[in-house]
């Protein structure tokens, strides 16, 4: 029997209490007098359930130069996560049971977080033929989310079939909403900034129109739809309308779309090149309001590591994407908590309970209560510091937040009772408590 006590943490931003963990399970929350093998002084810290990311790119297999399942797992733990979903656009693509099991097993071996593979919707992400969805769902990896992320399932008939087929296995399609024809050659948000910079515009309607089509398809076949990285005011409106209508849709937003805008692109720095693109201030405001009123269900990072050479180049040559696991909670703190859009309780919902529910991840149903798996994140809310690459622990350094003052710091992450982050530092080797 191993035990651990977290002393005096503010539970979900509320009253302070101790959390007693025995053999990876929370056995008591309140005033704990029992002795434990290890004690964490959490006075002044906020206790959240371990965070769950529905959208990361861990790059393994095929992209190990920019991230591996181990390095991405460590980046996740450093950011306070205890579960991450790994997108299917690896090389080879995760479109068979064998491949998703391999990703799942590597995650178990790494041991820092629960790695949940996402399966491809279509074979090789080609958008032509369904991938082995049933086999992936019934594999050891128990895949529940299917996505061609990075590419949109553009064909309406195929999207309809995919929605119908995954519902057979209790799954969900996570759509990357981007009309392929409307965004041919697109480089950045279409607007006054793209007009000035002479970069091919990426119209908001290319996202909004696909989401509108997909919610109607989901309604007509009675399936569940998840919308990845909503980035426009119009998309928020469409999702709001769909929910009012009773359509079974959930939506995510990334931290970077809650903070940055297309004006960041003015110097052509490839660090700001991302898909979907950074939009306007009006979109940023609409996204925050969408989170505040529940239209947007969750925050997901779309952590997209890229090697230095893919970003230390010209805008056109640069890869799309930014890392986000380590910075996610701080950006949410800055954009949603500090302006008063959500409380810490809401942060737990947006970054843990709800994403776990959408992905059918077990152990997050009753956060920080006796009987639950001990997935716990302790945050210092009083911290304020300049963000920089020194805060990154993954293999790639393409953060867009360098130089910004960001609040909050993950001081401790506990994954199934094991500390993965101690005193704000990722542990080098895991020792099971």
């Amino acid at each position: 029997m191993t035990s651990l006590v977290v002393r005096g943490a503010s539970i979900l931003g509320g009253d302070a209490a101790d959390i007693h963990v025995v053999d990876g399970v929370i056995v008591g929350v309140g005033a704990i007098s029992a002795k434990a093998d290890r004690t964490i002084d959490a006075a002044g810290l906020i206790a959240l359930p371990g965070l769950v990311d529905l959208h990361t790119h861990l790059r393994e297999p095929g992209g190990e130069v920019s991230e591996t399942i181990l390095s991405g797992s460590r980046a996740a733990a450093a950011g306070g996560f205890t579960a991450v979903h790994a997108m299917a656009n690896t090389s080879p693509v995760a479109d068979t049971a064998t491949l998703v099991e391999r990703v799942f097993d590597q995650g178990v071996t790494a041991g820092f977080v629960e790695v949940r593979p996402i399966g491809a919707v279509t074979r090789n992400l080609d958008g032509e033929q369904l991938a082995d969805i049933g086999a992936m769902a019934h594999s050891r990896a128990r895949v529940t989310i299917f996505s061609d992320d990075g590419k949109c399932v553009g064909d309406s008939l195929l999207m309809r079939r995919a929605l119908e087929y995954v519902s057979t296995f209790g799954g969900v399609i996570a759509q990357h909403a981007q009309d392929p024809r409307l965004t041919l050659g697109a480089q950045m948000n279409e607007g006054s900034v793209s007009a000035e910079l002479g970069l091919q515009g990426w119209p908001a309607v290319a996202e909004d129109a696909i989401i509108a089509r997909d919610v109607l398809l989901a309604e007509s076949v009675g399936a569940r739809l998840h919308v990845c990285h909503v980035s426009t005011a119009g998309a928020v409106e469409v999702v709001r309308w769909a929910k009012r209508r009773g359509i079974d849709v959930t939506a995510e937003v990334t931290p970077h779309h809650l903070l940055l805008s297309d004006e960041n692109v003015l110097g052509y720095s490839p660090l700001f090149k991302v898909n979907p693109p950074l939009r306007t201030f009006e979109d940023v405001e609409a996204l925050r309001a969408g989170v505040a009123d529940g239209t947007i269900d969750i925050i997901a990072t779309d952590h997209a590591p890229h090697s230095a050479s893919a970003k230390d180049c010209t805008w056109a040559d640069a890869a799309f994407g930014m890392v986000g696991l380590e910075s996610a909670l701080s950006v949410v703190h800055a954009t949603l908590v500090n302006p008063g859009h959500v409380t810490w309780d809401g942060v737990a919902r947006l970054l843990s309970t709800t994403p776990a529910r959408i992905g059918r991840v077990e152990g997050y149903e009753q956060p920080l209560t006796p009987g639950s798996v001990a997935n716990i994140t302790l945050v210092d809310p009083s911290f304020l510091g300049e963000w920089g690459v020194d805060r990154l622990v993954g293999r790639s350094h393409n953060t867009p937040f360098g130089g910004l003052e960001l609040p909050g710091r993950v001081m401790s992450t506990i994954f199934r009772g094991t500390e993965t982050v101690i005193d704000g530092r990722i542990v080098d080797e895991l020792r099971t408590a």
Partner: protein
Amino acid sequence: MKHLISTRDLSRAEAIGLLDTTADMVDVRGRDVKKLPTLRGKTVANVFFEDSTRTRLSFEAAALALSADVSTLTAQGSSVSKGESLKDTLQTLEAMGADYIVLRHSHSGVAATVATSGWTDAHVVNAGDGTHEHPTQALLDAFTMRSRLSGATARGAGLDGANIVIVGDIAHSRVARSNVWLLNTLGASVTLAAPKTLLPKDITEWGVSTAHTLDEALDGDPDVVMTLRIQKERMSSGYFPSESEYSRFWGMTSNRSARLKDTAIVMHPGPMNRGLEIAGDVADSARSTVTEQVRNGVAARMAVLYTLTGAQS
């Protein structure tokens, strides 16, 4: 001024200074000895990742007229076509001692990236980047306008009150962007005429008027009509239906030329599609400044290199 990346970065004083220096360079070009010793011992590297014989020759002539050593790199047959990154190419040029890098690239933003990346300490002159900017073209255009409207000897003057129409593919035109910023700075008022498909979606901050036919724009009695080259591949991408329809609504035809006031000029940055965006007889008429623009181009580029040199010493 260390680099010339965008006409947006130029103050009015800097812009007029460049036009005045261009006038000086025109004088130099008219002398028996057509050279200045300004860049003796300096190296100007013309780096053209995109083909442009006329702009490259113009920059070479300008650098030679300032006594620089000139080396030219074009994408064809170089290490660039072997997949070398822009960063490596630039660092190679830096190691070879290039003091000025004149850069042409098919992607927007490349000149800005090179100037700010730390890859090189050289002065960077943007010779056209994608659909972003072509600042030396705008300077030679503004100088040509000023010479025609206020006389070749005009010094210290801007283009205040001049009424300028730019017609054509604004969305994909670096010439249009550089001209709009510079003409605004010089006090001109600008009208853009194009089908909506060839205008950027949001130009509310450009400080220009728009017209959806050339006739509508000509109703404003312009001093200058600048026609832009239309790429024929725009038709297959659905930007406009046919050449004849383009000419009908946006071509600088003889009839439209006849509507202009006597002093008005018609410009084109070249190369022209005669009979499409500009009628052959208009291009060859006394209104046309096409060859004058080419001539002034060398002087304007001399002025740019000369001015950047001053910043260093």
